[in-house]
């Protein structure tokens, strides 16, 4: 018996933690940016540009994962929008890939969402994100539950 796998063990220091979520269009315009880590404004701008640069050059034959600085980006493209989540390199790629897919609640919420819905209803999009993700963690995974809550909040407006 030898001493096994320290390396593997120590890596798990952070748990599942999202660093940021970005929704960008093909031209690189940010439609949503949610930061779960402290970055200053210049750094945020740099990150936005870098993410756009690494993601848009990839095609359908590529994976949905791309190494990014010391992290990785899990992304998915819906029509002209890229939904990107930046996580630790040890995090579960497919879990986040499908977490992105939960954003299809936007579709039902906005009745066939388009890019402009996100622009003009930015404050609602933040609410949607906060229902699904909080403090860099996955908060709610049931699309039905998220949608119910959103409709309830809408009724208060």
């Amino acid at each position: 018996v030898r001493l096994k796998g320290q390396g593997k063990r120590c890596k798990r220091s952070e748990g599942l933690e999202i660093r940021f979520i970005l929704i960008q269009n093909r031209a690189g315009k940010t439609r949503l940016a949610k930061w779960y880590m402290q970055f200053d404004d210049d750094e945020k701008q740099k990150l936005i540009e870098e993410v756009h640069a690494v993601v848009t050059v990839r095609d359908a034959k590529h994976t949905n994962f791309v190494e990014f600085r010391n992290f990785k980006i899990i992304y998915r493209r819906y029509a002209g929008l890229y939904f990107c989540i930046c996580v630790d390199v040890n995090d579960n790629n497919l879990a986040y890939l499908e977490a992105i897919h939960n954003f299809v609640v936007l579709n039902e919420y906005f009745h066939n969402v388009c890019e402009l819905d996100l622009v003009f209803n930015f404050y609602k999009v933040y609410t949607v994100v906060d229902e699904m993700f909080l403090a860099g963690e996955i908060r709610e995974t049931s699309q039905t539950k998220v949608l119910k809550q959103l409709l309830m909040l809408q009724s208060l407006e």
Partner: protein, 921 residues
């Protein structure tokens, strides 16, 4: 719907549609900002609705990328509104434009406090989300006490619980010192049983983070997590209703639970452990079932759980059956049509390759992985293939893998070339069976990758070639054939054959070389002058020529002038001193390995590397194989001369007869063992003193002092022995020999690299180097026997050389849970040796710590529940195997006693280490 809320004038819409030019947009925005400012400053108090409208506009402008420097106060005012929409915009503004203005923070915190106490779940949710987004220390101070209460209160709504759990997690991450542990912790663990799966999902994240920092307090979460997981994986695909995702029951929660379990070793309770194994088997079985849906979402969700389960299996690294099943499953994915799956399978297999149980299973996929390297379209997938080849490489497949990597390098993407170069260089060095292969590989590498070969690789090759006499000739010849014009940095030391021919050959390429190479060549020439006086005139002519003496390059000119002068004025002795060989490179971590680690960031490759180093049993011993080759030394050759060995005196006449021929393996001496003196008195004590230290005086009498300086790395060691003549008279026929007994011989290889001068002048000190290799664990120590003539008398001194098993320790840091997990794994009675003994020295904590560290193991702080105890861990490296060792020392101050417990996988090792260490306290 299309307007900025509420009732905006639509300016933002046009701007973002790009209908306005940049300048027009700025103009428009400035106008709007001026308008909003005047509204805020106006005499008329704004109603909540207008305030919200303008704050929302400010936010919109900010998100378009413009600076906002006002409106914070109005946003804070909105927090105390009773209308959801107004409150929401207020909180959003605060979350997005955090302001550390302390005055405002106080107001914000006050509003949050009110909302938390409001019992209105919507308002509580908004307040919690704001705290979770900002997460500042001030907020932690204000709410770290309150939020746990909200979380565990019986009447809190589920959605608020979800938010409270993650909000608390955020505060714990930013200011863990402010989050008090208390009664709530046990109630939080029981949230794993909550009926609402959303609450369980959020709580699992919180518990995972808390458990990482406080494993003992959250230990009960293991059995709860296992039973929750078990209920999920065995449920029918529709049982969980809202939480079933494309026919997969609660995939995210499953992933989170599996990650929580990765904070702990395998469960101790056999029932829990059995249940977990069943879960993992079920997950593996499900991967083989036909898909319930053709949608990619179905397979992704299913595989997310599968990959996490495999991570847990690898983390536990204790169930060979599961490890091999995991490997087979990943093997199937290697050929899957989904690129994502191929990528993830390659990545996951990399970690499997470092487990001894699955290493062989991973190796069976070598052809598929090589194929991936050749055919994958996505460079990141090819990169993973390279990583996996690197991870699965061992002595058996190294030539194939290195060859494939080299051939891939010809077409590899620029972005990953440098990394591949480093990997090839490392593998070639690590698994070199024969150094001509090593040299060929590296030169090939340089030929193919040219500019991507970093200096580190170059330096490393030269280090190795310089330190290994037997490859120098081959390397010189090959380098010359392959790259006559570029790569002659190594020449300085690597020459053999007829000097004049050699010189002409070398010089014929001189004009093709770069300036730095020419400078090195000039240095080589002056070394020729030193070693082969017959070529001196030829070289002086070269140095004297205008192209050297008046070279436009200052460095070359200076060298030519100085070398020419040196060769003219200096006597042979001075020349020999000036041009004495450089000492061999010191043993140290391979510079290329360090570079690879740096390149890949600390988190990824480092760990893999360490894991690999632990695993591999046949590492070539890192930087420099210790036993010097006998063949290179026994035939006197110009190459040896270049190293300055030619100046070594002829073999001394005195006994033992064979010591003069240099690096001899000690077994030659077994015949002459009878001539050895009995061990010097006091030698035992001195020997014990060296168990925990490496330097000092080993022996001293009226005539002779013997000092030691030694260094050990993995299974190799090097010991510098200093012999001091304390008298004013010469020692003659001074011959130290190293003796390993018949019992010891199979376990330790030791050799004296160079004989010392048989004459030691009065008052002089001479040095000798012993290289040591630990082949397998051993108990006895080698003996150093010294014979010399002093005055008319024959002197004979023998001392034990303090080469003890613990010298081959590599310290291993680990957390408490790992330590006790391993401790329990080594519970076999033969693996444990215990000794209870009386303290021979004062029981001082700091001294004890220093001794344990000196002993070679890591000293693990905060591992033992009793802070008075000492625990340590390390790995004994021998050539054939590596032995993990755990130790625990329990002092009893009152009784002035110690109890020392050693656990290793090998009885003899436990025994020996216990003996050695017990003698230290």
């Amino acid at each position: 719907m299309l307007k900025p809320q509420p009732r905006g004038d639509g300016f933002g819409g046009r701007a973002s549609r790009g209908q306005l030019s940049k300048e027009a947009e700025i103009k428009r925005i400035n106008k709007e900002l001026a308008n909003i400012r005047s509204k805020f400053k106006g005499d008329k108090a704004l109603d909540g609705y207008s305030k919200k409208k303008y704050v929302c506009k400010l936010l919109f402008i900010f998100l378009l990328g413009h600076d906002i420097d006002f409106g914070h106060m109005e946003a804070v005012n909105l927090l105390s509104s009773n209308r959801y929409t107004e409150k929401q915009i207020g909180y959003l503004f605060i979350s997005v434009l955090v302001n550390s203005n302390s005055e405002l923070i106080r107001l914000i915190n006050n509003a949050i406090k009110n909302d938390l106490a409001s019992r209105n779940p919507t308002f509580m949710g908004l307040a919690l989300h704001c705290v979770a987004s900002v997460g500042s220390r001030e907020m932690a101070e204000a709410f770290a006490g309150e939020i746990p209460r909200v979380l565990v209160a019986g009447d809190t709504m589920d959605s608020v619980k979800q938010s409270a759990a993650l909000c608390l997690l955020r505060l714990y991450r930013t200011s863990s010192d402010l989050v008090p542990m208390g009664d709530w912790t046990s109630r939080v663990v029981h949230l794993l049983n909550d009926q609402h799966l959303g609450v369980v999902t959020a709580a699992t994240s919180l518990i995972t983070t808390l458990a990482q920092k406080n494993p003992e307090e959250f230990k009960t979460s293991v059995s709860l997590a296992v039973s929750r997981l078990s209920r999920i994986v065995t449920s029918a695909s529709t049982d969980l209703q809202d939480y079933t995702y494309y026919f997969v029951p609660a995939p995210w929660l499953s992933v989170k639970l599996l990650r929580l379990l990765q904070c702990y070793p395998p469960p101790e309770d056999p029932a829990v452990r059995g249940r977990l194994t069943e879960c993992l088997e079920t997950i593996l079985n499900k991967a083989q079932e036909p898909p319930k849906s053709k949608k990619v979402q179905h397979s992704n969700a299913k595989n997310a759980v599968l990959f996490e389960a495999i991570s847990l299996i690898i983390h536990h690294d204790s169930e060979p059956n599961l490890l091999v099943r995991a490997c087979n499953q990943l093997g199937q994915f290697l050929q899957h049509r989904e690129t994502n799956l191929r990528y993830l399978a390659l990545e996951s297999m990399c970690t499997l390759a470092s487990s001894e149980f699955s290493h062989e299973a991973v190796k069976t996929h070598i052809e598929t992985v090589i194929n991936a390297l050749k055919t994958e379209r996505d460079v990141s997938v090819r990169q993973r293939a390279v990583d996996l080849l690197y991870a699965m490489c061992d002595r058996s497949n190294a030539p194939q893998i290195v060859a494939e990597m080299l051939s891939y390098l010809e077409t590899a993407d620029y972005s990953i070339r440098e990394e591949i170069v480093l990997k090839v260089a490392i593998l070639a060095e690590k698994y070199a069976v024969d150094y001509t292969w090593y040299v060929d590989t590296i030169l090939n590498l340089i030929r193919i990758a040219g500019d991507y070969v970093s200096e580190e690789v170059w330096y490393r090759v030269i280090q190795i070639v310089v330190n290994r006499d037997d490859v120098q000739g081959y390397a010189a010849k090959t380098v010359f054939e392959v790259r006559p014009q570029g790569c002659q940095e190594g020449w300085g030391r690597v020459v053999e054959g007829d000097p004049l021919i050699q010189f002409n050959l070398l010089h014929s390429k001189f004009h093709l070389c770069s300036v730095p190479t020419r400078a090195l060549l000039l240095s080589t020439y002056i070394k020729f002058v030193n070693l082969f006086p017959e070529v001196k005139p030829t070289i002086q002519d070269v140095l004297r020529s205008d192209s050297q003496l008046r070279n436009a390059d200052v460095e070359l000119q200076q060298r030519a002038v100085e070398y020419l002068r040196l060769s003219t004025v200096a006597s042979t002795d001075i020349l020999a001193t000036v041009l004495e060989e450089m000492p061999p490179f010191p043993e140290r971590e391979s510079s290329i390995l360090a570079k690879l680690k740096k390149k890949k960031g600390p988190s990824t490759v480092t760990d893999l590397e360490d894991a690999k180093r632990e695993r591999s049993v046949d590492v070539n011993g890192g930087p420099e194989p210790a036993p010097a080759s006998t063949s290179a030394m026994s035939t006197p050759s110009p190459s040896a001369d270049l190293l300055g060995l030619g100046a070594a005196p002829p073999a001394p006449a005195g006994p033992p007869p064979s010591s003069g021929s240099g690096g001899l393996l000690v077994d030659v001496f077994s015949d002459s063992a009878s001539a050895v003196a009995p061990l010097a008195p006091g030698s035992e004590d001195n020997f014990a003193r060296f168990v925990c230290k490496n330097n000092g005086v080993l022996f001293e009498n009226q005539l002779l002092q013997i000092g030691l300086k030694s260094e050990f790395r993995q299974n190799l060691g090097r010991m510098f022995i200093f012999y001091g003549n304390k008298t004013s008279t010469q020692f003659l026929n001074f011959t130290p020999t190293l003796i390993c007994s018949d019992d010891l011989q199979p376990h330790i290889l030791g050799c004296i690299t160079k004989p010392v001068d048989p004459t030691v002048e009065g008052g002089a000190q001479v040095q000798q180097v012993v290289n040591i290799e630990c082949v397998s664990d051993f108990t006895e120590a080698p003996v150093l026997s010294i014979q010399f003539r002093y005055g008319g008398t024959f002197q004979n001194v023998s001392v034990q050389l303090p080469i003890t098993l613990n010298k081959f320790f590599q310290p291993t840091e680990m957390a408490s849970q790992d330590f006790f997990q391993r401790w329990k794994q080594l519970s076999n009675p033969q693996q444990e040796v215990q000794n209870i003994f009386k303290a021979k020295h004062p029981m001082d904590t700091e001294v004890t710590k220093a001794k344990i560290i000196g002993f070679g193991s890591a000293l693990l702080e905060e591992v033992d529940p009793n802070p008075a105890n000492f625990v340590g861990a390390g790995i004994i490296h021998t050539k054939t195997t590596q032995i993990g060792c755990l130790l625990r020392l329990e002092p009893n101050l009152q009784a002035q006693m110690y109890r020392l417990t050693l656990r290793t996988s090998k009885e003899a090792v436990s025994q020996r280490l216990c003996e050695l260490l017990s003698a230290q306290f």
